[in-house]
């Protein structure tokens, strides 16, 4: 039996070049599907990794219990002081997240700008933040620093100029970068100064850098155990993930929907071509069976042929996507963060594997049905050309 499978398969495969026409239809068809599938998944994957790039697993965000964003959260000064004494905290910054109105650079109309009051620990919590022009604000003074994106999008944020925020006047003393993250679209000011200027008495969130990512559980536990603390602990990656969940979901479901529709279409196309490829051989197969070959080896050898063609197609499609799309950069708006997210297509090995799996599945089922029908129709009927 195995010998028969081997010999028929060998014979089939040796003849593949002579069946170039129909074989290449199968290869190109499956290649197209895999190519598109890989490209779409690479886009989704690139988008996710771009979102995750600013996130660090040793950073946590503390919000009031039940709050899902900084705007609707508050943490009292007492709580801040208590949390500062807990284990695992390497740096900490109480922050006041507010929205101010500032004229846009291009139109001059007023638009929302995030003004973030930050504690002195903010720069330890976010070591990627770097002053690129001017200097940092001095604690206690009405000074601000502007993220580079904010500075280019809003008027009056040049170093040295003064800006009026809610009845008080502030001096712009520097510009900062933050590794391309959304902070670059904010302005930062001293936390205590912000509290008094904006007449608030508690922080909206608390940002912490842990001494190591493994301290997360310890800190959450300590906070949960203290009845005086009504706050929730969220790691930065999951916070960012939560903020961009909707957009990610849209891209992902769109990607998968397109991929699934294409794959189903391709399955039928591949089935059809495989069917044609096999049914033109119905008489050949019947002849082989009359000579004494069994059905099972014939089915298996047709399947092997189909899967090999499919794998060829898969490799071709994946290679095509890799060459044309890997590293290809696109930008989209992140509605949750109100900022641009630029990302690269990321053709990863997992995606290539997934594409190859699809190819094999298509080849397998595309080959199975016609192979079985050709191998199990009565020999006499097949010979009569039915």
């Amino acid at each position: 039996m195995l010998k028969q499978i081997f010999k028929i398969s060998l014979m089939n495969l040796r003849n593949l070049p002579s069946r170039f026409g129909i074989s290449s239809v199968v290869v190109v068809g499956i290649g197209g599907v895999v190519g598109v599938l890989v490209a779409i998944l690479a886009m989704a994957s690139g988008f996710e990794s771009a979102l995750a790039s600013g996130a660090s697993s040793d950073r946590v965000i503390l919000l009031r219990d039940g709050s899902t964003d900084e705007m609707a959260s508050s943490i009292s000064q007492e709580e801040v002081a208590l949390i500062g004494t807990l284990p695992g905290v390497a740096a900490l910054s109480p922050e006041l997240y507010t929205v101010v109105d500032v004229p846009k650079m291009d139109t001059g109309t007023y638009a929302n700008l995030i003004a973030r009051g930050v504690g002195t620990g903010a720069f330890d919590v976010r070591p990627e933040v770097e002053i690129v022009e001017g200097r940092n604000f001095v604690p206690g003074r009405t000074e601000i620093i502007a993220g580079v994106k904010a500075a280019s999008e809003f008027r009056g944020l040049d170093v040295g100029s003064e800006v009026s925020l809610r009845d008080s006047t502030w001096q712009v003393v520097g510009h900062f970068e933050a590794g391309g993250s959304a902070y670059e679209s904010e302005i930062w000011l001293d936390f205590p100064a912000a509290l008094s200027a904006f007449r608030r008495n508690s922080a909206t969130s608390l940002r912490i850098r842990l001494d190591s990512p493994t301290s997360f559980d310890e800190l959450s536990q300590a906070i949960a155990n203290d009845p005086r603390l009504q706050v929730q602990v969220i790691s930065e990656p999951s916070f960012i993930e939560g903020q961009s969940a909707t957009l990610r979901q849209v891209i992902k479901s769109f990607g998968y929907a397109v991929a699934v529709i294409m794959a189903i279409g391709a399955l039928f196309a591949a089935l059809n071509t495989m069917y044609t490829a096999v049914s033109t051989r119905t008489i050949e197969i019947a002849t082989l069976r009359a000579i004494g070959f069994s059905s099972v080896p014939i089915v298996i050898s047709v399947m092997i042929e189909a899967v090999i063609l499919a794998v060829l197609g898969g490799v071709l499609g994946a290679l095509f996507s890799y060459l044309f799309f890997n590293g290809f950069t696109v930008a989209t708006l992140n509605p949750a963060a109100f900022s641009q997210v630029a990302f690269d297509f990321n053709v990863s090995t997992e995606i290539v594997y997934l594409g190859m799996t699809w190819a094999i599945v298509i080849g397998f089922f595309g080959g199975l049905l016609p192979a079985i029908s050709a191998a199990y129709i009565p020999i006499t009927a097949a010979l009569r050309g039915e």
Partner: protein, 231 residues
């Protein structure tokens, strides 16, 4: 019991709800080394009878015994194995695999044996020599004439040295000259190599090469006089 013995054979086909009665209570016995020409109008069941003897079909009722093997109660895979050892098939349209060379086509039945590659090749070439086509071993079917293709098919039918050749209108698609060559070849295989041959044909001249001629009409066999055939 005779070498080939069909007893009370009935063969029906079901076409949807309709039953087609092809062979009715048919009896036939042939001795080893016979050369039977089976004649009759189109649709009379000649191919059906041939397929029963060749073991690619089984009777609705009755028994088919060939070379001591009772075919009517064998399983599909038993039949396949039996055919590979006992029967050589020759078809009207040759049924060669178009992408294989003559030599590879002839070698096919040997893939079912335990012969090594070099031995298979040697046997295939011997069979091609028997049909005088050794020099076309590397040609594909498309590069051969109809008569040559049928000779390759005959080489394929005899390469595993089966006792029985079943030929369904082997000259039906050939010109007179090529047909004569094929018939002469079958005669040689019968006389010199002792093959038992059952050949379906429409052609009275073809039947002349056979030792026995039978007519099938509406599922019933009628013996015919040699004189009647040549007339």
């Amino acid at each position: 019991m005779a070498f080939i013995e069909l007893t009370n054979v009935v063969k029906n086909y079901e076409k949807g709800s309709e039953v087609v009665h092809v062979l009715q209570d048919l009896n036939l016995s042939l001795h080893e080394g016979d050369f039977l020409a089976l004649m009759g109008p189109s649709g009379s069941g000649k191919s059906t009878l041939l397929n029963l003897i060749g073991g690619i079909d089984q009777p609705t009722a009755g028994s088919v015994v060939v070379d001591g093997a009772n075919l009517d109660n064998m399983s599909g895979s038993q039949l396949a194995k039996w055919r590979s050892a006992t029967i050589g098939f020759v078809f009207q349209f040759y049924n060669l695999l178009p992408f294989l060379t003559a030599e590879r086509n002839v070698e096919l039945p040997l893939l079912l044996t335990n012969l090594r590659g070099s031995q298979r090749k040697e046997n295939a070439l011997t069979a091609l020599r028997t049909v005088s086509l050794e020099d076309r071993a590397k040609h594909k079917p498309g590069e051969l004439s109809g008569g040559q293709q049928q000779r390759v098919a005959i080489a394929r039918a005899i390469v595993a040295d089966p006792k029985v050749l079943v030929c369904d209108e082997p000259t039906g698609d050939l010109d007179r000259q090529s047909a004569q060559e094929i018939l002469a070849l079958l005669e040689t295989l019968n006389e010199q190599f002792g093959k038992t041959i059952i050949m379906v044909t429409h052609d009275p001249l073809a039947a002349e090469h056979a030792k026995t001629v039978l007519h099938l009409d509406k599922g019933v066999l009628v013996e015919s006089e040699q004189a009647e055939v040549s007339a």
